[in-house]
Amino acid sequence: MNYSSTELMIVNAARMLKDGDVVFVGVGQPNLACNLAKRTHAPNLVMIYEAGVIGAEPARLPLSIGDPTLVSGSLSVVGMYEIFSNYLQRGNVDVGFLGGAQIDKFGNINATIIGGDYIHPKVRLPGSGGAQEIAAWANRCYVMTPHQKRRFPEKCDFTTSAGFLDGKDSREKAGLRGKGPVAVVTDIGVLEPDETGELVLTKLHPGKSAEDAINNTGWGLKIAADVKITDPVTENELRILREELDPTGIYLKGGG
């Protein structure tokens, strides 16, 4: 079966969601992953969008996280202050979904600048949005990003959202909620934190090798003793993604 690396990532990210999870849905590919999970193994997924929509049942793929399709038929709509305080800060969100331009050895994420310094960056990115708080206060976080050396530096140029900071102890010391980034899904496999908070390779997608992962990581990537192979992408998952969720290929065509 033919599928793109983007589709591979989205499918594997979707599978990590549990039925009944309350998930804070991000824009773009995480949006596809959550909607795919809801239409497959997690029909009771409660999707919260940072625009303030709770329990969304979108009839079409929302291009933005503030699309009107999210509102119609949802459980509740609240203001922005309330969604970030009563829901996220208070600890009522199970899962945060994050992306970013860089993710480092300890799962910290950069979505702000690349190169130079903050005032004079080489590349200016959109910045935090809700990511800073999602990473800090969701009970667990998943990250999706293509596996490329430039995206996996030993240390981020700028820490937009916290993973394990300088190691697991430092996240605890900073008083953050939740388990932090419990899995990073790439187009090669899955990285998960070890007991120190360092991301190690724990799963490979079919046909990928540990060497692929090592060569595309900016630090000396450790390989778990019992690396597993992820289940193949199914026809049903691809059909939902291509025909129901993103028929015009706005997200699926990118990065494929």
Binding site: G52, R124, A162
Partner: protein, 298 residues
């Protein structure tokens, strides 16, 4: 007392060069028509605050209205980069203050509530704290732990688009309610733009839906389709095609200028813009009514 005036008069009277402007709306109800009117009136040196500057500020920055932006997500939502703002920031031609979404909305909440600052729990990501000296820490007098604090944001003028308002400015909003209420209460002056101007009896029939009371409002403008290419829940759809196309237009300064000539300077007002666009059918929305609620007669 009626506060009904034209949008052009409202912008002329209540928006001054150098003002801090908050054009409200988290994706929903963004008052584009007001942004375009500020461009036509060649407002200058504005400080433009929004959680997501969105295309409205991209266009205003391109037209030379702004000296500074205050934001928490500088992207074209769902599409990618916000090219004009980004280019100006990278070139050092535009000042900026940056927050997370929660930091930004906490600033507005403090401003709306008349508080000196708003505390937030720590997030561990301290780089933005170091980059923005407005983000500080204080010791929680109860636990002895540090909390992050941000100062109030009190815009000189907030512009809020709503589904319906009466002539005094009592306003009903439904759908995504983002930060409209906070922006209106935080601001010194408030301009309401509305899809429909209704009799006050309509407002009084459903008081729980009134997000903004008329007595904090300075001007009420009847501006149907004000929010395009953003949307008004139940009235017209978000023009996602426009958001995708702007990604191309905004990558070329000549194309941006031509766009401003055609769609801002080339039209008198929103009515002319909407007729020229001809998107009535394309952005039409089928009705989905809520169940009526019974307030009871007492």
């Amino acid at each position: 007392m009626s506060k009904l005036i034209s949008l052009s008069d409202a912008i002329d009277k209540y928006v001054h060069d150098g003002d801090l402007v908050y054009a409200a709306g988290f994706t929903h109800l963004i008052p584009y028509a007001a942004g375009h009117e500020m461009i036509r009136q060649r407002k200058r040196d504005l400080i433009l605050a929004r959680a997501t500057p969105d295309l409205i500020y991209d266009q205003m920055v391109a037209a030379g209205c702004a000296r500074k932006v205050i934001f928490s997500y500088m992207g074209n939502p769902g599409v990618g980069s916000l090219r004009v703002v980004r280019t100006e920031i990278e070139a050092g031609r535009l000042e900026w203050d940056e927050y997370s979404h929660f930091g930004m909305i906490s600033r507005l909440q403090a401003g709306a509530a008349g508080l000196p600052f708003m505390p937030m729990n720590q997030t561990g990501a301290t780089d933005l704290e170091h980059a923005n000296p407005q983000i500080k820490r204080v010791t929680d007098p109860y636990s002895g732990k540090e909390v992050v604090v941000v100062p109030p944001l009190n815009p000189d003028v907030a512009i809020v688009h709503v589904q319906r308002a009466d002539a005094e400015g009592n306003s009903h909003i439904w759908g995504i309610i983002g930060e409209q209420k906070e922006a209106a209460f935080a601001a010194r002056r408030v301009i309401i733009t509305a899809e429909e101007i209704v009799d006050q009896a309509v407002i009084r029939s459903d008081p729980n839906r009134t997000i903004i009371p008329g007595f904090i409002v300075d001007a009420v403008c009847h501006v149907p389709y004000c929010a395009h290419p953003s949307y008004t829940q139940g009235y017209y759809d978000r023009d996602n095609t426009f958001y995708l196309e702007w990604d191309k237009v905004s990558s070329d300064p000549i194309a941006v200028n031509k766009w401003l000539e055609d769609w801002v300077f080339g039209v008198k007002d929103r009515n002319e813009y909407w007729n020229k666009l001809g998107a009535q059918e394309r952005l039409k929305v089928l009705p989905l009514m809520s169940e009526a609620v019974n307030y009871g007669k007492y």
